[in-house]
């Protein structure tokens, strides 16, 4: 495991992740998450759906960057097609924009420059994770691993902050998810053999609905 990959996966990376709950805040507001087991269930569902989709997109982006490809607008459109909620798209592009700022400063590369002009709102977050992984010398499998890991850690931290959950208990729940994270990363990495149209498109309608409701909420601490 190379250290720069750990840096990319670190929650202290200044890429705006701390202001996104991955749907945990609206789920807490809806009364769906109230304790650590419920949070763990939510994160397992998130990992299997939007987590898998994001990890596969990141792996594809990493492979594309390593090949020197320039079809970034097409891959970005593939991400859009797998993100039906406008609120989720907005959140994914906001996080992509912030990560791109860090990645261009830290691991400059042609692919990152190309991603910067893909959309005025910024590229989808997993694409930047994939291109950044390639730039720091990582593989598509590693890009998928960082992305799958990301899919559960941000929401876990939001649960600690919103509900005052015991951080030790939450960390134990994350550790229990580790094998699932590895499995999702492996499954996502295997998708780089096929065409982009065949990338996973697992949907999580409740996450989409929560994301839309969240934008209409009077009280919210997190952007998404």
């Amino acid at each position: 495991m190379r250290a720069s990959l750990l840096l990319l996966a670190d929650s202290r990376l200044p890429a705006g992740g701390h202001a996104h709950s991955g749907g945990v805040e609206p789920a807490v507001s809806a009364g769906v998450i109230g304790d650590v087991p419920a949070l763990a269930d939510f994160l397992r569902g998130r990992l299997a759906t939007s987590g898998l989709v994001a990890a596969a997109l990141a792996a594809a982006a990493c492979a594309h960057a390593l090949e020197g490809g320039d079809a970034w607008a097409l891959l970005d459109a593939e991400a859009d097609a797998r993100t039906p909620s406008p609120a989720q798209r907005k959140a994914a592009r906001a996080q992509g924009r912030s990560l791109l700022r860090v990645a261009r400063t830290t691991w400059p590369a042609r692919a990152l420059e190309a991603l910067a002009v893909v959309s005025p709102d910024g590229p989808h977050h997993p694409l930047v994770l994939g291109a950044a992984t390639a730039s720091l010398g990582g593989t598509p499998h590693e890009a998928a691993a960082v992305t799958a890991y990301n899919a559960v850690t941000g929401g876990a931290s939001a649960g600690v902050r919103l509900l005052g959950l015991d951080p030790l208990e939450v960390n134990r729940a994350l550790a229990a998810l580790a094998e699932d994270v590895d499995a999702v990363a492996a499954k996502a990495a295997a998708c780089t053999d096929g065409p982009w149209t065949a990338l996973p498109a697992a949907s999580a309608p409740l996450l989409d609905i929560y994301a839309e409701l969240h934008l209409r909420a009077d009280l919210r601490l997190f952007e998404s």
Binding site: R12, L13, P14, A15, G16, G17, H18, A19, H20, S21, A94, R97, S98, R101, V102, A158, R161, L162, D218, L219, R220, L221, F222, E223
Partner: protein, 216 residues
């Protein structure tokens, strides 16, 4: 620069090619939003101003500024901080940078962007990557021992504002003690005493901001 430049009647071009970014931080309820509103009112006639607010819970601060109509709506942006106001101004400034840059793109002639932090504790400090200058706002009702306790905000801010001086006799706070204690930890940096209720324009702070812009 030659000597005949001294009486050039034209404003100098901004040396940094972008507006000055002014951070305003301080504990909850000390008057950050009121000071932001006062600065907007005082400066909007002579400068192009925009504001980013970082609210803890809601967009209440941005809504307050809009309701008071201190600036047109499209010059005020609210950022959410994920329950960590200090993170958003210090450790991970990306959402605030994003908001500042979006305002700059929308209003190319901006002179000043005020970033008002969410209410925080005494250790809050703006990153240099986000704010070129910073003001820390305390109020006398928080206790006159607060400057003595120090903290990064009190010690390091370019300007320390001690607000609500009109309440000092009512809450038993000694302004002289606050001024003396602040001076000890601030290494000569200025302290301004304000009462936005008595002087809604905050003339001393507005003057400090004008000076900051002249040397920007």
């Amino acid at each position: 620069m030659g000597e005949h430049h001294e009486h050039d009647p034209h404003d100098a071009a901004p040396a940094h090619g972008r507006p000055l970014r002014l951070g305003i931080g301080g504990p909850v309820g000390s008057g950050k939003t009121a000071l932001t509103a006062a600065l907007c009112r005082a400066l909007r006639g002579e400068l192009e101003v925009a504001v980013v607010t970082n609210d803890i819970y809601t967009t209440e601060d941005a809504d307050f500024l809009r309701r008071e109509a201190v600036l047109p709506d499209d010059r005020i942006t609210a950022v959410r901080t994920g329950a960590c106001p200090h993170t958003a101004i210090r450790d991970d400034i990306s959402a605030n940078l994003d908001a500042v840059e979006a305002l700059q793109a929308r209003h190319p002639g901006l002179d000043l962007v005020i970033v008002e932090s969410g209410g925080d504790n005494l250790t809050a400090l703006f990153s240099r990557g986000l704010a070129d200058r910073q003001i820390f706002v305390l109020d006398v009702a928080g206790g006159d021992d607060v400057p003595r306790k120090g903290g990064l905000g009190v010690a390091a801010a370019d300007l320390l504002v001690i607000n609500k001086t009109d309440l000092a006799p009512l809450v038993g706070s000694d302004l002289a003690v606050m001024g003396r204690d602040a001076a000890k930890v601030r290494d000569g940096k200025p302290v301004a005493f304000t009462s936005l209720r008595e002087q809604p324009g905050a003339p001393e702070v507005a003057g400090w901001v004008r000076d900051a812009l002249r040397t920007w």
